[in-house]
């Protein structure tokens, strides 16, 4: 490894750059790059000028589009709210009309009672708690009425 490093150093010492460039390349390059930058600036300034003239029209266009979009969204929102409510009622009515024959009166009563079942159960638990308390404390019904 050390020997090869030395060999590389020797090689570098003898090496004249094996690559070359076209005649006057480095003399002309700074001018070419300046020209390219100037042409890029011109292109950019042309684009900026177009943008300057078009900008007010764009702004007006965007305002109209934004106003239209907001109006459409608002109207759509209001109408969709109404439709959903209308559709909801219509759907329930339709369901009852079409499917009602599958259910008996008892089904509907069961469903309605099912909703209230939790509330009733909770009330029953509370009542039991009060009764137990009165029994444990040996408070009779008459005393309680007198106190109230």
């Amino acid at each position: 490894m050390k020997n090869f490093n030395e060999k590389l150093e020797e090689l570098k010492g003898n090496t004249i750059n094996p690559f070359s460039v076209p005649k006057d390349y480095f003399e002309e390059f700074p001018t070419r790059i300046q020209e390219k930058i100037v042409s890029e600036k011109k292109e950019l300034s042309w684009a900026m000028r177009v943008l300057y003239y078009v900008k007010p029209h764009f702004a007006l266009g965007f305002m109209i589009i934004a106003f239209a979009a907001i109006s459409i969204t608002a109207v759509d929102f209001i109408l969709s709210g109404r439709n959903e409510a209308g559709l909801g009622n219509e759907l329930f009515t339709r369901t009852i009309e079409v499917d009602a024959y599958e259910f008996t009166e008892q089904h509907f009563i069961d469903v309605l009672l099912e909703d209230k079942k939790d509330v009733i159960e909770k009330k029953e638990i509370e009542t039991d708690h009060y009764i137990n308390y009165l029994v444990n404390e040996d408070i009779d019904y008459g005393t309680l009425i007198d106190e109230l």
Partner: protein, 182 residues
Amino acid sequence: MSEYSDKELLDLFSDKEKRNYAFNLIVRKYQEKLYWHIRKIVVKHDDTDDILQNTFIKVWKGLDGFRKDSKLYTWLYRIATNESLTFLKQQKTKYLLPIVDYENHLSETLECDEYFNGDEIQCKLQKAILELPEKQRIVFNLKYFEEMKYDDMSEILETSVGALKASYHHAVKKIENYFKED
């Protein structure tokens, strides 16, 4: 021209009336170094010319936001390196070439390049360098040909000094093996 330091050039560039002049001085100061750095990566003169132009256009656009406490020349090298690597990636994608085939293509380019006039041993060295992976090749070129400090190289390639030393060591080993095999 050469009496201007990087800091002086940047101060000159910040003066709006003198910025064209300052940029011209920056181009003149660094064009050759960057050219040879890019040329050793992409081999062909025409490709190098395109990349060098793109590099300086980016420098022109980015110089306004350049922090003066950073080193100008490591920043320039970083742009040139990134542009070269992007170019190589584009070429591989464009021609749907696997990496190994593309390195072979560069070796062939070297042989028939009208702007390569090295002797047999120089040609062999360049071919051995072209066998190296891209990043290793850049590390080897910067250290061997340009004798750049590892600290500066670390800033350019955003890699630790230790990793760069290891990379250079592996590169020399591979070149040695190439010479032994041939």
